[in-house]
């Protein structure tokens, strides 16, 4: 056990799973870096954010594979390899790029098992950076997980801290279904106590990161950190329970419903754009299953229905804030 960053936790999970299972491979753009460069130093990059650093050096070019800028080919190669015996971990770099390769994911990988009547498995992971906050503007800052969540056949993982990231990634790699694993840019440098040995965290099991009795905040990914801050701040005045579903598909509706049944109040927080997002889904789940226990109308906090602005001043207003969450908590308490 030692303190590790979210980035290190992911890197460690990749190392350990590749050691554990020789069929695990990595594939993507510049996850190695330096191929064909004048310094003749393959391995000098390790991913745009350094998440895959050292893996090429350890596992070699057969298992850590750089590609041309051809995302459909990457995702298809991963899906085809998964169908035929490997466990590929493909990197999409920024999740925003899914639009050039989504067919391979949602029409192919996600549907094989069903279309083939159960006679196939597609154990692959797609890692991608998500989220706003680094002044990357409209095409490099999106959330998009509601879209992946909508697709049957995909599993969707949104870790909110380094500990979960390691365990969930190990699970994703060992899992026999296609998994979208989303890494929020602003979490890479956050730190946590993370065990050195390998471990897995099962999908579809929410974590209660703060226990409380007055209000339930259901938050996703990075928003969990904000929700925790609000809970901590309000401690003593309002008792806030924070539920981190950790995976959006499967979604742990049981824990969400139980928590709201207990507190009677709900604030749902999703960094994604508001229409058909996870906050809507959570509110709908609660309305369907725990309507009678609601003491007040729920509150929903999301980014607005706009692209992500370049201006850091506007971006700050775009991303849900602790201020908004706190205000919402106070409102449901006042209602």
């Amino acid at each position: 056990m030692s303190v590790k960053t979210f980035r290190q936790a992911i890197n460690e999970a990749l190392h350990q799973e590749m050691e554990r299972d020789p069929t695990v491979i990595l594939i993507g753009e510049d996850i190695v870096g330096g191929h064909g460069g004048s310094a003749k130093k393959p391995g000098s990059s390790g991913g745009m954010m350094g998440v895959t650093a050292g893996l090429y050096q350890k596992f070699g070019e057969r298992r850590v594979i750089d590609t041309p800028i051809s995302e459909s080919a990457i995702m298809g190669a991963a899906a085809g390899a998964a169908l035929t015996g490997l466990r590929p971990v493909a990197e999409m770099m920024f999740v925003d790029f899914f639009g050039v390769c989504f067919d391979q994911i949602y029409n192919q990988a996600a549907k094989f098992r069903y279309m083939f009547g159960g006679n196939a498995r597609t154990p692959m992971v797609i890692r991608a950076m998500t989220g706003a906050g680094l002044v990357c503007a409209a095409q490099h800052s999106q959330a998009l997980w509601p879209i992946f969540t909508h697709i049957p056949g995909l599993k969707v993982v949104l870790p909110s801290c380094a500990y979960d990231a390691k365990g969930l990634l190990a699970q994703a790699i060992r899992d026999d279904d296609p998994v979208i694993f989303l890494e929020h840019k602003l979490l890479y440098d956050t730190q946590d106590e993370v065990p050195d040995e390998p471990y897995t965290i099962p999908f579809g099991e929410a974590k209660i990161t703060r226990e409380g009795a007055d209000v339930t905040i259901v938050a996703f990914g990075r928003m969990v950190q904000l929700a925790n801050q609000v809970a901590d701040k309000l401690k003593g005045t309002i008792s806030v329970e924070v539920v981190d579903p950790r995976t959006t598909s499967p979604l742990d509706t049981d824990v969400i419903v139980e928590s709201v049944a207990h507190t009677g109040r709900l604030v749902a927080v999703d960094e994604a754009n508001p229409m058909c997002n996870l906050a809507s889904e959570v509110i709908s789940v609660v309305a369907l299953n725990a309507l009678a226990s609601l003491k007040a109308a729920p509150r929903k906090i999301s980014a607005p229905h706009t692209p992500v602005p370049a201006s850091p001043v506007l971006e700050k207003l775009y991303v849900p804030s602790t201020g908004q969450i706190e205000a919402a908590v106070r409102e449901v308490m006042a209602a």
């Binding site: 080919a73 085809g80 390899a81 035929t84 391979q104 279309m115 599993k155 899992d175 279904d177």
Partner: protein, 322 residues
């Protein structure tokens, strides 16, 4: 490449099975017994056969919306194929895939595909598995002339060259993508030369000539198995039927098809050739014909009366676990 007598008989049987399977489906479709819509492989039988004769169950193919011929050539059970086309519970995909998603992983058949061009990236993956595990297997992606204009196919070509993957791009140029002729949709001189410019060997062969396809595939396969990388084979073979069954083909000169059927029937050409070369005799092939017809009749009649999936089947097989 010399083929033994039994190999020649196998080739003939495969082509004939495709021909009769598809002809029967065509008639059944007209009679309204087949659910959904379907694209037939008639006219192109020598392509799938010439390609797949080089493959084992450990070699992979990715297929297209026009996939029945690929299935048969790759060794799928015709009975289970018929069951699948009728969307029956004991079909290859338990009735959930149908004509456009028919697959048999155990035979190395990675699925028909209703998305044009989608098979090419998948074939990269199968090739990557072989390469990573150090196996001598190859992977073939079938695709039409129209599909070669899809970005996924282009990406796959460069990708395969860069990573030296054991992939063969088997392009089936049947002259049309849906209702549009290749003279309109292709800007290049031809498909093979465009593929060659990606940095791999690419040849154009007469796709109605089994032996031409077989020989070209022999070279491509040897190259791929040796680790030298991908190749493209453009096989020119007419589509006898409309894009799908029910297509009136107003865009097409129907005498053209009639003539093609006379001059470019791969089965006729094969029979002529093996008799000229004194490799097979007519009665040997006639016996195959009878076998094949009996098999298909049995398969189709059984499929028609076989049980449907049960309601519970709707919800299974989405995930391995969830």
């Amino acid at each position: 490449m010399e083929l033994s007598k039994s190999e020649l008989l196998r080739a003939y049987r495969l082509m004939k099975t495709i021909r009769e399977f598809e002809s029967r489906i065509s008639r059944e479709f007209e009679a309204g017994t087949v659910p959904g819509f379907t694209h037939l492989y008639l006219g192109q039988e020598a392509v799938a056969t010439g390609i797949c004769m080089h493959l084992t169950d450990e070699d992979y193919i990715s297929s297209t919306h026009r996939g029945h011929g690929h299935c048969i050539a790759k060794g799928c059970d015709v009975r289970k194929m018929a069951l699948e086309l009728w969307c029956k519970r004991d079909g290859l995909c338990r009735g959930k895939g149908g004509s456009m998603h028919i697959a048999d992983i155990s035979k190395g058949m990675l699925g028909a595909n209703a998305i044009v061009g989608a098979g090419a990236p998948l074939a990269l993956g199968a090739a990557l598995t072989a390469k990573t595990l150090g196996k001598p297997n190859v992977s073939v992606t079938f695709g039409g002339d129209g599909a070669t204009n899809q970005g996924t196919v282009f990406e796959s070509m460069n990708f395969a060259v860069v990573l030296k993957l054991p992939v063969i791009f088997a392009v089936e140029n049947n002259g049309y993508g849906e209702h549009t002729g290749i003279a309109y949709h292709l800007g290049a001189k031809d498909i093979a030369s465009r593929a060659a410019a990606f940095g791999m060997p690419a040849v154009m062969v007469d796709g109605t000539d089994f032996f031409a396809v077989y020989d070209a595939m022999g070279e491509a396969t040897a190259r791929a198995r040796s680790g030298a990388g991908p190749s493209t084979i453009e096989c020119v073979a007419p589509r006898w039927r409309g894009h799908f069954e029910g297509d009136a083909q107003a865009y097409r000169d129907l005498t053209e098809i009639k003539e093609l059927r006379e001059r470019k029937d791969c089965l006729k050409l094969f029979r002529e050739r093996v008799r000229e070369d004194k490799k097979l005799e007519a009665h040997e092939m006639d016996r195959v014909d009878l076998d094949v017809l009996a098999l298909i009749d049995e398969a189709v009649e059984a499929a028609k009366v076989a049980p449907h999936p049960t309601p519970e089947d709707l919800l299974t097989d989405v995930y391995v676990s969830y």
